[in-house]
Amino acid sequence: MKPKFFTLQDLNCKAGKFQLKDISFSLEARQYLVILGPTGCGKTVLLETLAGLRRPTGGKILLDSMDITHLPPEARRFGFAYQDSLLFPFLNVRDNILFAARAARLHTDPSVRKRAGDLAEAMGISHLLNRFPRFLSGGEKQRVSLARAFLMKPPLLLLDEPLSSLDPQTRSSIRELLQNLHNKEESGIIHVTHDFNEALQLGTHLIVMDDGRILQEGKTEDVFFQPASMALANFLMWENLLQGRIERREGRSYFKEKHGPILIGPIDRRNLPNQNSAEVTLLIRAGHLSLSPVVDCTGNMNMNSWYGFIERINCLSTHMEVVCKGEGNYRAVLSNNEWKGLNLQKGSRVKISVDVDDIHLIPN
């Protein structure tokens, strides 16, 4: 097991009326942790507290088992990048990148200057070194900001929504850049965002926060596909929620929809509530529903599938989103090729199916 090189124990911090409440988590060396949460949930306050820019009202911060709770930011030397890059307008790109080296009086050191050059090369900004920030685009500024934060090889890099103010193309290229840097550099990364795609693509681990507390933490896929509460499922925008109960039939467990005919199972392997007939919410991601055309839907319904008709089709850039109406509304996502192969249109009758391995249950 890898050692936990960064640990938070019951961290509390007040920022005006807002408060971080008992935040605890650990980070392994070189881990990429994404903290996901809605605007105003305390992500930035948490990052600033980790950086030493805010004084915690309780709890501990440990780096390599050393208590750094009351260490000032300049002693922690964590890299920090805000979403709006915040380059120093009175310095050119080279001097912005070398700013941390200036603090350590190493800005004339050839090895540091070489590292600055290498980082600029890796970031694709080596041709901009003599330019001033006002002549840079948003993406270029963010690259410089990241290079500046990475220069002195900080043990931990704190990124506050670094992609959110960029256009989609630039966002995608900086996302790749962050992945490359994470692979090459020694630093652990804590990246806060409200964007699910960023969390899924970048994070090895994920923490979801709301109202100053942690809702759930774990491996990114686990948190995304096995939310522990309805609050989290709603925040993660699970598309299909079915109310029902667990029924035992012939020694096996099944999900039975409350006001409809849907029956899904057997789901013995799932982590079910203990009591029989427990009220549950069944969650299915849109991408896990499959559709097939039907001509006659008068026959008996199969297990794990039900009928509906297509009410709305949303053509998105990479896929199709199809809203089907049955007893309720069901949202499915298909690739463009899948959709073409089905030869369906608005109003078509469809069979909606789900693989029992792709469902998730939350006790009510």
Binding site: P73, L86, F88, A100, L158
Partner: protein
């Protein structure tokens, strides 16, 4: 419903007309103000006898007033900077109980008539602190030192106000970045905050300087009006006007006007849009 549509159109047309009238008035008032300034300066310049101006410029009294005004105003501006930069930073960055009251106290010289400021200074630095200051050889009342103190007192609040605006405009997260990159709070102030506020500070100090050059009321009360001793350019104008030497007074006024114009034009050319005065 054509009649409704017509009413709506008429209403929109009426609104457009009233808007045009409003902005037309804005333009008229603006043009009046600009023309007034042009005539004011033009009137003063046209009234001058340039041969007399040349003669006045060569006079010993003018030289004294000019040099005296320059060094006292530069010294007063330096002292204003010494107090204004830290005060503006404190007002901009810290939560102070009763901040509105403290802010008002700092602003007092702006709202108080200069003569009243002069009397207040005279009482503080005369009857109250005079003996104490004399013991250290620092007499202020009716001395050249009094000129510097009066100029400093009148001009410092302007510097505080303009420099505070410059500090307010800085995103505190810039300073945060400086801290995370390894600088202590003091070094962040020098390496990040001051360079970011540079233009505001320079414009604040130029405005302070022009204010000190023109200071008269408080100077007259605290330092007195003594020819060739506490005679600034403003005092020189007053002295010569009161003795009926209008030509000397007008020549000096023109020189002061030119200094103010050059200072303001320099300010606007060098600092461009960032000037907030």
């Amino acid at each position: 419903m054509p009649s409704m549509a017509l009413k709506r159109n008429n209403g929109a047309a009426a609104r457009d007309n009233s808007r045009s009238l409003l902005f037309g008035c804005f333009w008229l008032l603006f043009i009046f103000l600009v023309l007034f300034m042009v005539f004011l300066i033009g009137g003063l310049l046209s009234y001058a006898d340039w041969e007399t101006v040349r003669i006045v410029l060569l006079q010993k009294e003018f030289h004294f007033a000019m040099v005296f005004t320059l060094w006292t105003s530069v010294l007063a501006t330096g002292l204003a900077a010494l107090f204004a930069i830290p005060s503006a930073y404190v007002l901009s960055r810290y939560k102070i109980p009763g901040k509105a009251f403290v802010d008002t106290l700092v602003d007092i010289p702006i709202v108080m008539p200069p003569l009243v400021s002069g009397i207040a200074l005279l009482i503080l630095l005369g009857p109250i602190l005079g003996d104490f200051l004399t013991r250290f050889g620092l007499e202020v009342v009716f001395s050249q030192r009094g000129v510097v103190v009066a100029q400093w007192f009148i001009a410092t609040p302007y510097a505080v106000k303009i420099i505070k605006q410059a500090f307010d405009a800085i995103d505190p997260r810039m300073e945060n970045i400086g801290r995370t990159l390894g600088f202590s709070p003091g070094k962040v102030f020098v390496k990040v905050t001051l360079p970011l506020a540079k233009n505001g500070i320079i414009s604040g100090l130029i405005m302070t300087w022009t204010r000190t050059i023109g200071e008269f009321g408080a100077t007259a009360m605290l330092a007195g009006i003594t020819r060739m001793k506490t005679e600034t350019l403003s005092v020189a104008i007053f002295l010569n006007m009161s003795m009926g030497d209008l030509k000397f007074a007008i020549s000096t006024a023109i020189v002061m006007l030119l200094i103010a114009l050059v200072a303001l034009i320099t300010l606007k050319l060098f600092l461009g849009k960032e000037v907030r005065i």
